[in-house]
């Protein structure tokens, strides 16, 4: 089937989505995906970051589609014409999506473990505007522990449902879901039941933001100070194919390997992730491929010699001052929704 995206025509198999077709063309054409995650069935359609304009539905019926459609779940028709990066309306709406996603986001990147490998940061950087229009107080939630190794910081969650699908699909038995509605909805294990399941750690890797983080790695390093290395081991539970994150000689984190779209290639078990933290546990395969525009590829030389303490402290102080000085006088107390 032929489809034209941003004036580039490709041939794709029937059943292909606009997103997959665009990805075949390349990263510069592919719409941003904040919720869609190819390995997870039924994911996508939620964040609306991938909305694109279909200017011709198909060869048979070349009328444009009235609304923007989510690229991640819309299937190609023969002769479909799609506009992504060349359509004003699409780019305008995307700016709006960034704004919505940041509306209640704490913007605590300076102290967030995900910073540097955060889909929301990248999305904002590429599609957002630099000024905020909101003056409202942000919604807040208390951080909770999901078992001994996973921290949930709901303030940062964008409700992409990836972790919910992961828990549904790759761990046996449903371990968590979404409680409540709207902007007061939260990821929950239902009465904070611990997640104890051999594959639960994968919800950390699928999370596009810093809402789910690895407690064994928390605050150990900025991601751009660490070096990713592909390694493997003979694991009875999973494929044992992982990425080790080194700081100096120390393995500070173990994650699953990801493809160029940031999607996990093979889910790994909790033993590999949380317990095998010595080089001697692993056979090293070589440096991981890092996208060239990622901050992870920066600072790779002598990274272990840089002491971040001073600039970080300075930034935090300045940030606090700006935050403390924010004009809050126009904020009326809000009634709590439940």
């Amino acid at each position: 089937m032929k489809v034209t995206i941003d004036n580039i025509t490709v041939d794709v198999a029937p059943g292909t989505t606009i997103m997959q077709a665009a990805r075949q063309i390349g990263p510069h054409i592919a719409p941003p995906a904040m919720c869609y995650y190819e390995p997870l069935k039924a994911s996508g359609g939620k964040c609306r970051g991938c909305l694109v304009k279909v200017t011709a539905g198909s060869e048979k019926d070349p009328r444009p589609m009235p609304k923007l459609v989510p690229a991640c779940i819309t299937q190609i028709q023969e002769g479909m014409v799609v506009e992504n990066t060349i359509n004003e309306q699409v780019l305008e709406v995307r700016k709006g999506i960034v704004e919505f996603l940041l509306l209640n986001h704490p913007l605590d990147c300076p102290i967030c473990d995900q910073a540097g490998e955060c889909d929301l940061q990248n999305f904002t950087f590429e599609h957002g505007v630099s000024k905020t229009r909101t003056v409202e107080e942000r919604n807040t939630f208390d951080p909770v522990d999901l078992g001994p190794n996973i921290k949930l910081n709901m303030n940062r969650c964008i409700l992409c449902y990836r972790c919910v699908y992961t828990a549904d699909q790759i761990t046996d038995g449903r371990v968590h879901g979404v409680m409540n509605r709207g902007d007061h909805a939260e990821i929950s294990t239902y009465i904070e039941k611990a997640i104890d399941n051999d594959f639960s750690g994968n919800i950390i890797d699928v999370c596009p933001v810093g809402a789910l983080t690895d407690k064994t790695y928390r605050f150990k390093s900025r991601v751009w100070f660490s070096k990713p290395v592909d390694a493997s081991c003979d694991c009875g539970k999973c494929s044992g194919k992982v990425t080790l994150w080194y700081r100096g000689d120390e393995v500070i984190r173990v994650t699953a390997r990801k493809n160029e779209w940031g999607e996990v290639k093979e889910f790994i078990c909790n033993t590999c992730r949380f317990e095998r933290k010595k080089t001697s546990d692993w056979t090293i395969e070589g440096p991981s491929k890092v996208p060239h525009n990622s901050v992870i590829s920066a600072n790779k030389y002598g990274a272990n010699k840089i002491t971040p303490a001073f600039p970080l402290k300075q930034a935090a102080e300045q940030y606090k001052k700006i935050d403390d000085n924010r004009d809050r006088s126009f904020l009326a107390p809000q009634k709590q929704l439940n």
Binding site: G45, F100, H184, L331
Partner: protein, 446 residues
């Protein structure tokens, strides 16, 4: 002309014996014994009846879209979740005359070839669930439900499901999720329920009032039904009238009467309460655009506005509105539009399911901004901000709740911008109890 409510005040109409004495279940006899399912569908098509749940989609056409693959069950699901602020007609009908709905369910299920059907009732209305269950039991006892109904060879089981307590479960795909026992999140479409609905099988979802009307259509013929009303607005419609009218309540009107008659005639609402004047109307439930007095009574071309799908939407969203679900909320000059908009905004904020970012974040944002304006902390730029946020939600969401949340805000600002500005300019006055802005020279100004 009364079709649904003719016998609604008859003593004991909720029992099957009284209901049958009044001619009840004759449509089941006629359809199952003398008509093929396709003939039933044909009559419904001829009647021109449009869905009464809000969107007004032609019912016969919806039925004809139902996929009919071999060996796959089909379902009819009745949407009785009725949670739209200002709408309370289905509740009234089911509570007073449950058999009217059950009769319609049997006829419609027969037409669609469904052997299992569901009535999904708003969770807060447990007493309605009980009334329906009692009536369904009576129908089973009389051989009107179950195996081989009236010896016709047609089987139907009918279940009542209490809802999960969320407005969003009235959206048809959220309803199906909820019916399957899951969280009531709307599904992305396509696929539509007609192809993949309940348990991934072809499903028709219709409103209570739509389904209830099919009995009369079968008894009297689709052509007869189409004679009532005007143009593409055929038949009768239940209107839930509330607010500052003399006689609020549920009225069955023939489509096509004038809005003026509906508000002022003694047969219907009986006019605005004593000593007050009509200021604005929300004509079709909280999600449709509000219109000021002059635009609800007459279109911009000076024609009388009628109670029809077409006339109410004359002028598009600039000067028109929608018939929607028929939740007719009348406001007099004591109503503060900013306060009213905040009430609606708060509702949608509370009811957004939170799946898609524009609706989840946008509804909360609009609520917070409206709250500030109402409480004397507004800024001039907030008005345009609200308009822009509404615009960024509209059309970009999974389900129409996004639009339902944006339209009331956008329309209130479109028609009553001066009230918002007044709130922002004079916070000390605006926040006094009962304070309402009076537009100079407006028909409602005192």
């Amino acid at each position: 002309m009364k079709i649904l409510t003719e016998h609604i005040d008859v003593q004991g109409i909720e029992t099957i014996d009284v209901f049958r004495k009044k001619g009840g279940y004759s449509a089941v006899e006629k359809a199952l014994k003398t008509m093929t399912p396709d003939e039933v569908t044909e009559e419904v098509k001829k009647s021109g009846i449009r869905g009464r749940g809000g969107a007004g989609f032609p019912m016969g056409m919806k039925w004809s879209f139902l996929a009919k693959p071999e060996g796959v069950p089909r379902y009819l699901v009745c949407n009785a979740d009725e949670s739209e602020p200002g709408t309370f007609k289905d509740h009234y009908l089911m509570m007073k005359s449950p058999h009217t709905l059950i009769e319609g369910m049997i006829v419609s299920s027969y037409a669609l070839g469904a052997n299992t059907s569901y009535i999904y009732v708003r969770g807060e209305l447990m007493y309605v669930v009980n009334i329906l269950e009692k009536a369904i039991q009576e129908a089973y006892d009389k051989g009107l439900l179950g195996k081989n109904i009236l010896g016709s060879g047609y089987d139907l089981d009918l279940f009542v499901q209490p809802g999960g307590g969320a407005y969003i479960c009235g959206e048809e795909t959220a309803l199906l999720e909820s019916l399957e026992g899951k969280r009531g999140n709307p599904r992305n479409k396509p696929p539509f329920p007609a192809v993949k609905g309940l348990w991934q099988c072809p499903t028709v979802v219709n409103n209570v009032e739509s389904i209830a009307a099919t009995s009369w259509i079968i008894n009297n013929g689709g052509d007869e039904y189409a004679k009532i009303g005007i143009g593409r607005s055929t038949g009768t419609k239940l209107i839930s009238a509330s607010g500052h009218v003399r006689k609020p309540g549920v009225y069955e009107i023939p489509l096509g009467i004038t809005v003026e008659d509906f508000i002022f005639a003694d047969e219907w609402c009986g006019g605005i309460r004593d000593g007050h004047k009509l200021k604005a109307v929300v004509a079709g439930g909280s999600s449709v655009p509000i219109l000021p007095a002059e635009l609800i009574l007459k279109t911009v071309n000076g024609e009388n506005r009628l109670m029809t799908y077409e006339s109410l939407s004359d002028g598009g969203f600039i000067t028109g509105t929608m018939l929607g679900s028929g939740g007719f909320v009348v406001m007099d000059e004591t109503t503060c539009i900013v306060h009213n908009t905040l009430t609606f905004g708060r509702f949608y904020h509370h009811e957004s399911c939170g799946q898609c970012s524009p609706c989840r974040e946008g509804t909360g944002w609009m609520d917070k901004v409206l709250y500030r304006i109402e409480h004397g902390k507004g800024r001039q730029e907030d008005i345009d901000l609200l308009v822009d946020v509404a615009k960024k939600i509209e059309g970009n969401t999974i389900c129409p709740l996004g639009e339902a949340a944006s339209w009331p805000v956008a329309a209130a600002i479109r028609h009553f911008r001066d009230e918002f500005e007044w709130h922002i300019k004079h916070p000390e006055k605006a926040t006094q109890k009962g304070a309402v802005f009076m537009r100079e020279g407006a028909s409602w100004s005192l």
